[in-house]
Point group: C2
DNA sequence: GCGATTTCATTGCATCCGCTATGAAATCTT
DNA sequence: AAGATTTCATAGCGGATGCAATGAAATCGC
């Protein structure tokens, strides 16, 4: 006789699945802020990441940003293109290595960041306040989770000043 | 005299910014698995989420899945469309409410899930093992972070068995 | 020093995504 | 019980994303 009843599937709890939980948490924590970035300043998350990096790293190439921030090269490239079109950053050819493109904030970009950064900071503080003690725990977990991906600049850090 | 030096920007550490860290963590933990889903089974993350839900929730509508899993209605709808085209799920009109679409795994879908679920489970276990004690901490943090979004079924739970 | 290889950045293409509008069916209102 | 409102699912459209291919410049190997 052929078996009519389907074979039982192994139990699996999606809501307890760590990759899922992290994805939801990431979306949840960035949603409100990303909406502000977009509606008030017209920038996306990849663009925001590039801007933040430029805000405290001076002139850097696409490659540098890719290495530091968890972004693919083409993401950086496209973000940079849009930011340049918006007049927020400038691209300049590198002095000695003409393959590299040096990125830097324009005055307009700096002004915008001067407005944006405190908002992000406040967001972070609100988040920490809401989590209370749980924030430390979250951090411990994230630290461990990211530990062998975080120390980006293992081989490429020399060229940077 | 005009001020030539740019105004100093407030300090901001992107690498310590929780939304950023969560995004990286989410990407990192799902990357390897998602690649397998895609290359070996041809399914995306939204599709995977729908499948998992169907695997242990029997017949459900798009609306049900939207309520349980953190997905928008149109994401579920499109995932369902692709899954139907792939022969992994079946859509049927609901008995009494013809607006609803009941989704259910096909035999083919069940077979695939029987293969997929143990892989996901092993992935979770490997992750927990790698994190060690830090896993509990991560969980505590995530729990708190998600707490007021997690209890989905507040109003719509009655219809489900 | 010159061709082969590698590195850096961008782009083409196909797909995917988010938002909004649409259509269909049920429920509410009077 | 008929019209207005709400709920459910999908489709259209513009833009974003991922991947692989391309182009340009530097470095390597002989």
């Amino acid at each position: 006789m052929t078996d009519q009843s389907p074979p039982p599937l192994p139990e699996f709890d999606l809501l307890g699945f760590t990759p899922y939980r992290l994805a939801v948490a990431a979306k949840r924590t960035s949603e409100a802020l990303a909406k502000q970035y977009r509606s008030r300043f017209g920038i996306s998350i990849p663009e925001w990441r590039v801007l933040v990096h430029l805000a405290y790293a001076g002139n850097v190439s696409v490659r540098d940003i890719e290495a530091r921030v968890a972004m693919e090269k083409y993401e950086v490239s496209r973000a940079a293109k849009r930011l340049e079109e918006a007049g927020l950053i400038e691209k300049r050819a590198h002095q000695t290595d003409r393959r590299l493109v040096d990125l830097a904030l324009t005055a307009k970009g700096r002004l915008m960041m001067a407005e944006l950064l405190p908002i992000a900071r406040a967001h972070q503080e609100a988040l920490e306040a809401r989590l209370g003690d749980a924030f430390e725990q979250l951090e411990t977990g994230l630290e461990k989770l990211l530990e062998d991906i975080e120390p980006f600049s293992t081989e490429k850090q020399a060229p940077r000043g």
